[in-house]
Amino acid sequence: MSDIDSKIPEGPLATKWTKYRSTVPLVNPSNKRNIEIIVIGSGLAGSSAAASLAEQGYRVKVFCFQDSPRRAHSIAAQGGINAAKNYQNDGDSVYRLFYDTIKGGDYRSREGNVYRLAEVSGNIIDQCVAQGVPFAREYGGLLSNRSFGGTQVQRTFYVAGQTGQQLLLGAYNALERQVGIGSVTMYSRHEMLDIVKIDGKARGIIARDLVTGKLERHFGHAVLLCSGGYGNAFYLSTNAMGSNVTAAWKAHKAGAYFANPCYTQIHPTCIPVSSGHQSKLTLMSESLRNDGRIWVSKKKDDTRKANDIPEDERDYYLERRYPAFGNLVPRDVASRAAKERCDAGHGVGASKMAVYLDFASSMKRYGTIEANKRNIHNPSAEEIDRLGKEVLKEKYGNLFDMYKQITNEDPYEVPMRIYPAVHYTMGGLWVDYNLMTNVPGLYALGEANFSDHGANRLGASALMQGLADGYFVIPYTIGVYLSNEIRTKAISTDEPAFVEAEKKVQDNIDKLMSIKGTKSVDHFHKTLGLILWNKCGMSRNETGLKEAIEEIKALREKFWSDVRIPGDANELNTELEKAGRVADFLELGELMCIDALHRNESCGGHFREEYQTEEGEAKRDDENFAYTAAWENKGNNAWDLHKENLEFKEIHISKRSYK
């Protein structure tokens, strides 16, 4: 039995949401004007939620650590956004998107939530088009689609390789419109450092003005955490430098459960690590797998250049192992397969920790089609290549340029070298169907929550979920709570709860500044990242996880006695900002390992070496682990486990195969 209530409405799956949102309590417009909502983070989830709630009449305060809300890391999402529009007439439907997402998540997500996500996906595209997002179009003027991993239909909408940027700018424009009107107050260069609870409810936050270092108290009837994922715990990831877990972690320490922290998505197509000075990893969009073929040499330790290896000596291992989905298998499957080939000695490039992503055959295919379109008879091979290159350029130009800029190699001429890298975290704050954590009044949206992707997220679904939560879910579900809060007057920030919370934050800052040790924050962050990557990364085992837990504990102790933070706390101090975030990663890292250690099965992004099939595929244990692990913080780095059982009424839970 679950000991936590997900509040999924009763009734048939297909009508749950429609019925629920028609019956949730409402807050009348004049009462909305007296209700204040705090939003932490200004990415897709935060901006869309803030704009939508402000449009309804709520008074909204938005906080982001960047200098402008437009810079949140949703901006970097490349490939696209899924929606069950069935514009391509290829058999897509709400049900199919729902099914693909549940299966893609390796049967570790909630049916109710995922169905709702699929249901509102179409509205998102309509909304974004109306905002002026310049989605890719066909010649006739209709919206264009492409494929992403884990699906056999074309349901991904895109804007070149900059879909996240364009969607975020749409939400940012909507947000700024509300700022201009005065319905939203924007606090840029501010970081949330604690949640304030009064009588068990979230009632506000403590934030630090990153320019002056001053701590501020802010009241809110509700607090929405839209602060993204925790992939930067690994130091090297595709996240932005500033991406952090701090807001979510402070909420966790204030009582909110943290769910499935071991589910990390390692994205298969990233530019490989080149050396120790590297500060981050760069993704090459999954959309490239529409046209790129992944291969390594059949020969071990082959030192020939890619273009010198003849066709019959190449191993297109994804096409070989997974003929039904080929190069478009989901991310977890593609990443493990790349690791397997490299570990077996077939890796390419100087480091041998890479595989090829090759566009030569697409270039030929597109070039031939273009030649036909343009009525060019008997085109030469060079002409075909030139025409094909034009098509690739239109589709992926910015990605190819970025690759060349970083690696100094031209992917139009030689195959890209790619390797998996930490990209997204499926785990996050536990939320119910209303997106509320177990702390009343405290919500988590977008990547910050755990809710929709199970143990593995499908490509182009993060943008979908962030915007679904912000535009089409929270504006309804927040009424369930706020309709009972209309009599709550704004609480003075001189109340003891605010004073105490501020003192706690100040004490923590003072403690960090007083250590005056010998090692930089980055030193600790890099060390933690390596522990997690090696022992809680693409594959894990019991021994490694147990070691990692001990190593992280020791590292944490070292951090608190030997970190060096120059400068003062009452000014812009980027080292102090980083130190606070790394301190939280050092606690989260341990919980990630504890969660990975307790889950004695393999599923999605969580691959325990002890639990695999003879073919090396992930082996789930549905009898014992078909639940969400929600961890309660007991203080002093101790946790209690709560289980939310996952019931599959609509989908027959089965072996996840892409063969």
Partner: protein, 246 residues
């Protein structure tokens, strides 16, 4: 590679700033410019000195945070890239590199190389949107948009809001930034309804925030990391005139 860096140091917005010289040894040509700064900062921290403050987030050329004026150019010597995508292989061994913050009245320095660009947000808040609320939008495919119009709109909406155009302009004009947003919406049917008020409100706000007039030198286009063309400015001028005259 061994380099000499001359970097603008300024404690806060009220303090006097000055150049400090830092030798940097054993730089790898594969490092990005900002990784070279990380490397230098690590050294400064180890010596007990304060690291150089600079803005940086995505490090893949899209968030628009990084904003360094390198050897007299916004984002350094390579056209079409942001500072975070600039690599040390673009410099010579032994070179002296001068790094300053964006210089513009509308972008006051906060610390070292960090400037305040919130005036850009204010210009967007004045009109850089389509006034529709969430919900009730018609089916996306009911608005037909030609491939060319979509690409035109995207050629402007790809602006990352970094402020290089302002830094590059001798008048500190924000015309390229503002016109990119105007052009984006002017290329699409969704933007037509409010075209007149949008351009007037955004231009008025731009002036109010202290940005200068267009210098007609095209320095903005030359230094824009997304290589956005000055034709956007011409379009904005037409839109503005039309709005004023009709």
């Amino acid at each position: 590679m061994n380099l000499t860096l001359k970097i603008w140091r300024q404690k806060n917005k009220n303090a006097e700033g000055k150049f400090e010289t830092y030798p940097v040894k054993d730089v790898s040509p594969d490092m990005s410019f900002l990784e070279m700064f990380d490397y230098l900062n690590e050294e400064l921290i180890n010596k007990g000195e304060e690291p150089i403050a600079f803005d940086s987030d995505c490090r893949e050329g899209i968030c628009g945070s990084c904003s360094m004026w390198i050897n007299g150019r916004a984002h350094g010597p390579v056209p079409g890239v942001t500072t975070c995508q600039l690599h040390m292989r673009s410099f010579k061994d032994g070179e002296t590199i001068t790094v300053e913050p964006w210089r513009a009245k509308a972008f006051p320095v906060i610390k070292d190389l960090v400037v305040d660009r919130s005036s850009f947000d204010k210009v967007i808040a004045a009109g850089g949107f389509v006034s529709i609320n969430t919900g009730g939008a018609q089916d996306g495919n009911t608005i037909l948009i030609s491939k060319d119009d979509a690409s035109e709109a995207f050629s402007a909406s790809m602006c990352i809001g970094c402020g290089a155009c302002v830094a590059a302009c001798k008048n500190s004009s924000a015309m390229l930034f503002v016109s990119s947003k105007i052009f984006h919406f002017a290329s699409l049917p969704q933007g037509k309804v409010e075209a007149k008020t949008r351009v007037q409100n955004m231009v008025a706000k731009m002036d109010e925030e202290g940005f200068g007039d267009c210098s007609n030198t095209y320095a903005c286009e030359a230094q824009c990391p997304k290589e956005i063309s000055v034709e956007k400015i011409a379009k904005m001028n037409r839109e503005y005139l039309t709005a004023k005259l009709t």
